[in-house]
């Protein structure tokens, strides 16, 4: 509680005290640049994290809601086995719908690999049945058993083997993005601590004078902490602004035919970058305060 009160007192500002810290110097530029660069990177890492989250959920949802039954049978039995499989599927609990893909749809699926001119209808291509699951899903093992009994050439593919690595990769990407944000925050704290230490070391005479005339630790700390917090806030506002502009001008996902979900923010996520400068200021506040407290203890 005392810490919160003293933090508020420090942040409340004191124009006279603020003049005590020299206004310029390389640490000022270093802090501004560090905060701007870190905020820029943080916004991108945040965007990456949110985009990978969207990707994971989209892949997960799309692949989880549909599965495929593949009928591999001699050409004279293909139609009958397909009808048998559809009958089984229509009576399976948890299956919302099931339909056999048309020749054209199957050709379209193969086209990227075989090219447009290959006569797919002359090839022994298995028949695919698209199965759309009801929200509660169906019992895959049970369906496999029934199909193996009634349709000899049917194989159920519930996309698990495709879905799991994709979702795992997207989740890992999101984790890495959050880790990056954490590292950026830590790096910024380290850089600002270094800058604060340099400033404190360069201003030992100012501290000596303040001590001599009876300044308390909070007064001295406050003067330095406010300076660094304000610089970090200003730098981070600039860096965040530039990063948001860069994201605004990224190509949209529609232009990329839906392959990318878009690295930019979507919906209310556009509000989230506004938090970054304040987090940067908080990091600067905490790290400068710790550095100043250490310096003052050493000074006495």
């Amino acid at each position: 509680m005392l810490g919160v009160v003293s933090s508020i007192k420090i942040l409340a500002g004191d124009r006279q005290a603020d003049r005590i810290v020299p206004p310029t110097g390389f640490t000022a530029r270093l802090t501004l640049f560090t905060a701007a660069a870190m905020a820029f990177l943080s916004v991108f890492a945040l965007a990456l994290s949110l985009a990978s989250g969207r990707l994971a959920s989209r892949w997960g949802e799309e692949l989880a809601q549909s599965s495929t039954v593949r009928i591999s049978a001699p050409s004279d039995q293909l139609a009958s086995q397909t009808q048998a499989a559809l009958r089984v599927l229509r009576t399976t609990q948890g299956v919302a719908s099931a339909r056999a893909l048309t020749q054209a749809e199957q050709q379209a699926l193969l086209e990227p690999w075989l090219g447009p001119d290959v006569p797919v209808d002359t090839l022994p291509v298995p028949q695919l049945i698209e199965v759309i699951e009801a929200p509660e899903g169906y019992d895959v093992a049970g369906l496999r058993l029934r199909l193996s009994a009634e349709v000899a050439g049917a194989v159920v593919d519930d996309h698990t083997r495709w879905r799991r690595p994709l979702v795992r990769a997207a989740a890992r990407l999101r984790l890495l993005a959050w880790l990056s944000i954490g590292l950026i925050g830590g790096l910024m704290a380290a850089m600002i601590t270094l800058a604060a230490n340099a400033t404190l070391a360069a201003n030992t005479q100012v501290i000596a004078v303040l001590r001599l005339i009876g300044a308390t630790d909070m007064y001295i700390t406050g003067a330095f902490v406010r300076r660094f917090t304000n610089r970090a806030l200003a730098g981070a506002l600039f860096g965040t602004g530039v990063a948001v502009l860069a994201l605004v001008f990224l190509p949209s996902s529609e232009q990329e035919n839906g392959f990318l979900t878009g690295l930019g923010f979507q919906g209310f996520h556009w509000v989230l970058p506004a938090i970054v400068p304040f987090v940067a200021a908080a990091v600067a506040f905490v790290s400068t305060r710790a550095a100043a407290s250490r310096a003052l203890r050493a000074f006495s």
């Binding site: 004191d14 006279q16 005290a17 003049r19 005590i20 020299p22 206004p23 005479q205 100012v206 000596a208 004078v209 303040l210 001590r211 001599l212 005339i213 009876g214 300044a215 308390t216 630790d217 909070m218 007064y219 003052l296 006495s300």
Partner: protein
């Protein structure tokens, strides 16, 4: 009347195992008293003054600032006590990017009275130390004497109970040192306790014509009364 600063069997050494610079020092500074502290260079005059304003903690013995035991005081309590002690250093430390006026008013800002400070009082103070025309100058632009007077003005702006001056005339000519001495004597007449550390015997002789002063000497790590041989 209680002593403003009291030292009782105080010893001090810089670091563990090093020889004691000061040993078995006892002294009471009464309100309104005037003291000179003499001794050869390196005898421990500056260290003694630092002990008196709580910048150093004794390795043995007890120091009381305004009846509070220094060892029991927090850093903030020492800072509060220091507001009642004006210190003038030989190398008068200033905040270099602030002008004379701002440097002198700094103690008022530290206690939070910066906005309320009576500007006419500050101007009177600048006039008293003869720096009215130099109010906007920066410390680097001041001569040695001007720096000493600015330091004295800063030391007294809070109207402290005690003024400790460490070789205040070390870098200035005779005329300027006389002027500074008169200012310190004037403060003593206002009831302030004054202690001047100096090895300038002529300053002490000049002061004896103006004020009743005790002269102390640090010799062989100990404090002695040295008035008789001056």
């Amino acid at each position: 009347m209680d002593a403003v600063i009291e030292l009782e069997n105080v010893a001090y050494s810089y670091g563990f195992g090093s020889n004691e610079l000061l040993a078995d020092i006892s002294l009471k500074l009464s309100p309104g008293s005037f003291h000179f502290l003499t001794g050869p260079s390196g005898s421990g005059k500056t260290t003694f003054l630092k002990l008196c304003y709580g910048a150093l903690v004794p390795t043995a013995g007890r120091i009381q600032l305004f009846s509070e035991d220094l060892r029991m005081m927090s850093r903030d309590s020492i800072a509060m006590s220091r507001r009642r002690i004006g210190v003038v250093h030989q190398d008068c430390q200033f905040v270099d990017h602030l002008n004379v006026y701002d440097n002198i008013s700094l103690p008022l800002n530290v206690v939070g009275d910066g906005q309320l400070a009576d500007l006419s009082n500050l101007k009177d103070l600048l006039g008293w130390v003869g720096l009215t025309t130099r109010a906007n100058a920066f410390p680097a632009e001041l001569s040695g004497g001007e720096r000493q007077r600015a330091a004295l003005a800063r030391a007294v702006v809070m109207s402290p109970d005690v003024i400790l001056a460490d070789e205040p005339t070390g870098n200035i000519d005779w005329e300027m040192s006389q002027r500074l001495l008169h200012l310190l004597v004037e403060l003593n007449r206002m009831g302030k306790t004054v202690m001047i550390a100096t090895h300038d015997m002529s300053l002490i002789r000049a002061a004896k014509a103006l004020v009743q002063a005790r002269v102390l000497r640090i010799s062989n790590r100990r404090l002695q009364l040295a008035g008789a041989d001056l």
